[in-house]
Symmetry: C2
Subunit: 312 residues, 2 copies
């Protein structure tokens, strides 16, 4: 497998981007009443997140409801972001699907736009798949994309996929594709798993998915954070990221963690969207695509009270 | 929601097909060394299944590795089948994806070809979704397909999706869309679930997914069977289906069940494909797409021995 990266076509003079680090926000996707993407609101939200301190946008992941978008919409989202002036180097889109073919299509499209990298879910239909099967899937995606600019971040979310990128498999992939497999977003919340990766593979860019784990992660060498609740608390989380070695780091941690924990009981996606709806005075923001459910009015009120109590 | 079916455009003079019944085989999909679909082998296999007694083909489901095909391939498979002379009325393709948009695309395409119906997986990315969310998903798919010819069979496979079509939700959907939601394929293997549906909704077409449950199901009013192992034992299962009220039904049941149980430890998809490879003397048949794994040579030998011992 070591030959594959040499077999990839040259990148037409373009250098591979540096590995991502910092606070990358998985931007939520607003929908109109007919469930179409509300691009005006979406682009304004993304611009605001960057203005408020996000290093980049991890778009088209779980929080973005990417798997509820069709393939064409997923491509259009990236095109609209770039057209609106967002630097592709500030984009880390999700491109993983259960099928190699669809994943290659989305990945090629993203790489052609010049994105910083892509987040790769494992093929999430079949269960109890083996590390061998997952390795073969990733290797085939890399081979078919065939572009040295490809920077790949594994997306670990066993609660959704039932599949975990095992530390052994991560080691194999980084060994065989050292210039392509650059990092991992860990949405498992499993601290042992995160720390195993950080200790086993120094330089591999691990992103926890909760600001509650950011301080602990940074102390062990994490690259940064990709967190749903960053949609509503960029400033607080950015302060923690910048100040994790400062005297008041624990205070910043406690404040950010309290706000996050206030959202937890409501579900990250409907919860974050309900907060954005209330803040911007646009009830449409709270809409989600089926099979997710929008919060009820009572839940929205309770959530906003909880956020206020948490100091958010 | 009751208005929706009236709002659908007229079917251009075509009558809605009768609900499916009998033995529908989820045809396995052979791949070439480059993982492309081997259409010659596939079409020959499908023709053979029909010649040997299958009432129809439940293509593009789990056994067919449909979720490992890209969207275009899924459309091409149907087009090639119809072009090869398979009656669309003998086709019950899977068209469910996590996204409403992609699902509508595949479903419209299948309905336009005149298929007997489609098998609908629930949107399988998000977990812990509610019946309300699933209802909204199905209603939106039906609304957007907007074709009275649409006949929809729910595909229940919680081991893969973690989502179950609850009996309450099934009742709501058949109540609100009585001319569209016609049946359910139950791959759960949960006898209580199957019997609850059969007792609660007479006339609703329930297909168990194992010949081991066929006799029990038929006695309670099941519509037929959709079973992976029918790829390798059409004749034996068809005999059981035809003879379930005969004196020797239990013998036919035992024989078919024994052959099925011999495959179980090897995984239905790699197992069925390995049997086809051995029977046809074409090792290529055993190939699967990642993330699945082809059986090892030792497993193949053991499986063939087990099948022989079971009388298959």
């Amino acid at each position: 497998m070591l030959e594959l990266k040499h077999a990839a076509p040259a990148a037409e003079g373009e250098a591979r981007p540096e590995a991502a680090s910092g606070l990358w926000v998985p931007a939520a996707t607003p929908f109109r009443a007919n469930l179409a993407i509300d691009f005006d609101r979406y682009l304004a939200h993304c611009r605001k997140l960057l203005d408020e301190g996000a290093h980049g946008l991890a778009v088209l992941g779980t929080t973005s409801e990417a798997n509820s978008l069709d393939l064409g919409e997923r491509e259009t989202v990236l095109e609209r972001l770039v057209k609106a002036g967002v630097s592709p180097l500030q984009l880390l889109p999700g491109t993983g699907t259960p099928s190699i073919g669809d994943t290659v299509r989305l990945t090629r499209h993203a790489v052609a736009l010049g994105v910083r990298g892509v987040l790769l879910l494992p093929p999430f239909y079949y269960k109890n798949v083996t590390d061998e099967g997952l390795y073969a899937y990733v290797a085939e995606v890399i081979r078919r994309v065939g572009d040295r600019r490809l920077a790949l971040y594994l997306y670990n979310f066993p609660q959704m996929t039932t599949i975990r990128w095992s530390p052994v498999l991560v080691g194999l992939l980084t060994h065989d594709f050292p210039e392509t497999v650059l990092g991992l977003k860990d949405s498992s919340g499993d601290v042992d798993y995160m720390e195993t990766l950080l200790e086993s593979y120094p330089g591999f860019a691990v992103f926890p998915s909760s600001e509650s784990l950011l301080l602990r992660g940074m102390r062990k060498g994490a690259a940064g954070l990709i967190s749903a609740t960053a949609n509503t608390n960029v400033a607080g989380i950015r302060a923690l990221y910048d100040g994790w070695q400062d005297e008041d780091a624990l205070d910043l941690h406690k404040k950010a963690a309290a706000i996050r924990e206030a959202v937890a009981p409501y579900g990250w996606i409907p919860g974050v969207k309900a907060i954005l709806a209330a803040r911007e005075g646009t009830p449409d923001w709270a809409r989600v695509r089926p099979p997710l459910d929008e919060l009820s009015d009572l839940q929205k009120t309770d959530l906003l009270t909880a956020i206020e109590m948490a100091g958010g």
